[in-house]
Assembly symmetry: C2
DNA sequence: TGTCGTGATGTGTACGTTCACATGCTGCGA
DNA sequence: TCGCAGCATGTGAACGTACACATCACGACA
């Protein structure tokens, strides 16, 4: 015997039990002003009694609004994106919106599928935290009509963006090393197709050029500690440098690991700067000098911006949050 | 002049242009078997031309199925959960499902709101990765009729679960220290309302009891490196121990930081074991001995289990994945 | 040659909600 | 006393799709 498939109660069931029309129930649900308090109370009682829940699909179908913001996030479990997403959720909840997150791998088809999914769910806006160049191809190809905002620093006028000023961050880190007196500075960069990685690298090159130091070609990494470790071993085959600027904290961790293994002291022999200021960075050994990005802040701002657009404003702004150098124990003057 | 609000093309628009009935279009979309190839082709052409996309809300409304799996995840950006979520997404995609993720903070109302949201979105099943006891109160109160699976090790018969055997992991770590010859072992545990934290602690206590060592009350932490650092400083006020088992890698990192600061050598003076084996752990200094959990594997399995239930199977299984001790350089015999 | 099964396609309806409009009632001012 | 504004509530339609059923053409078979 199959258990009988009970239909969920709908607005009409509520109406019948409350002795009103379904429209009145709808009014209660939507907090219409003109409704007698006693009626409203009675309806609410029945709703509670029945455990009635509005059918979101039906609502979306008729209103074409879902009160939902979509988030397209990258495939990796990085500290930054997850922190931003969390901030977005909290902010959205406060504005009466919900958030639907979809992860994607970095290939075109996956990004495309993710955007399609969000569109099908009738999200009212999309926050894109997949900071790879390829994302923009997908967006262009499917000419998205939904408002969207990106969390990175492309200055395209086609859409809004909020980002930490990565270029400036790259300069801050490099300038710090130069100010300490370093002249032989390596850069362990991120993957080239990441917008942020590129901006940090440009910041590095800019300061190197400004100080008229010899330019060393950056090493292109993949953000992982394992790569940092590998790169560190390679670099030590020609130890003609006194400082390394790593494009994120994880790679800095791996690099320091390699330095330790070879008996190279940090910061006495080599100074290391990271990027991000993940919570762990303060507890690396030595505690890491790094550039702090406020991931939560850009999350909050992105939501504010996109709700602004949903509600009618239309100027495509590009906000930038200023990063901050956090000096700890992994940097010192060269000896 | 407002730009005219253009309605998205629907199934009838497609039908008209293709010269067939809307039902035929529907059949093409749902890959009905009895349809002439030439007709199908013509319809597909029109779909492509119009950029038609099925309206998910309408589909869900009529079928009461969404081909979507909900994921309720905790509020923190931990490595484990994010890795599991990612694995779930990939597996879901392969089965023709999509995943909708909702984060929650750990308070009851937020969990409740998250579950309500997922239910309203008509997800067909829910994977719960919010491993706090409180989750079960919320579930019980709203008597969820949707199949769900949890990614932790409560052995309740009300639902399915997949988990790494945390108890066993706790034993592995502790046993390793005992086998090395340690007798004075501290445990830095996780928050008490986390199911996993509790299980690891029980594993620890079990081995301590087995070896007839004096039981030291575990220190209850919050998973962060900052807490590990703080706890390390506290412990060093009475340095009567030779080893510490930390309930996760981050706390181990902070603890080691505190030890380094006081000139205590790891592992010569104090051995440290972590838990999780996050990618960074291999690059801590010293590289961390820890217990590896296969987060991706439990993600994949959870999806398999829940799809199984969606498709009709009904025995509530409790699968367990075996954790693995990874010995690196943070542990050694006491000296 | 009539009947019947089968493949291909079309028609009516339901899903649960909101919007636009209609209706009834109340009280107030002329 | 009448008309009318305004509040409270009700009725009909629409959103876009899938399911159940109806219809039609065609060939096989007795």
């Amino acid at each position: 015997m199959e258990p009988e498939k009970v239909r969920a109660p709908n607005i009409r069931d509520v109406a019948r039990l409350a002795g009103v029309s379904y429209q009145t129930v709808s009014r209660v649900l939507n907090e219409s002003p003109n409704i007698r308090p006693s009626t409203k109370e009675r309806v609410l009682e029945v709703i509670d009694e029945l455990g009635y829940q509005p059918n979101q699909a039906a609502r979306t179908l008729v209103t074409n609004r879902s009160r939902t913001i979509g988030v397209l996030s990258g495939d990796t479990a990085h500290y930054g994106p997850t922190t931003s997403v969390h901030a977005i959720e909290i902010a959205a909840r406060q504005s009466g919106y919900r958030v639907m997150i979809t992860n994607t791998t970095s290939d075109y088809d996956s990004i495309r599928a993710g955007l399609d999914f969000l569109r099908q769910q009738a999200v009212e806006a999309i926050v894109i935290i997949a900071p790879q160049v390829r994302v923009f191809d997908a967006i262009a190809d499917m000419n998205l009509t939904i408002p969207f905002v990106t969390l990175d620093s492309t200055q395209r006028d086609t859409h809004r963006s909020v980002s930490v000023d990565q270029f400036r961050g790259g300069r801050l880190a490099t300038r710090h090393l130069i100010d300490l007196g370093h002249r032989e500075i390596e850069h362990l960069a991120g993957p080239q197709d990441w917008i942020e990685a590129d901006a940090r690298m440009r910041g590095f090159l800019h300061e190197i050029g400004d100080a008229e130091l010899a330019t060393r070609p950056p090493i292109l990494g993949d953000w992982t500690a394992a790569f940092g470790h590998h790169a560190g071993r390679e670099l030590l085959r020609h130890p003609d440098f006194t400082a390394v600027f790593c494009a994120n904290d994880q790679m800095a961790l791996g690099l320091i690991h390699a330095l330790h293994e070879e008996g190279v002291r940090v910061p006495q022999d080599v100074s290391v700067v990271g990027f991000d200021d993940i919570p762990d960075a303060a507890h690396f050994w030595p505690p890491l000098t790094t550039v702090r990005q406020d991931f939560a802040e850009i999350g909050r701002r992105s939501l504010a911006i996109i709700l602004d657009e949903v509600l009618g404003s239309s100027d495509a702004s590009h906000e930038q949050v200023v990063p901050e150098l956090v000096v700890r124990a992994s940097t010192a003057p060269p000896q």
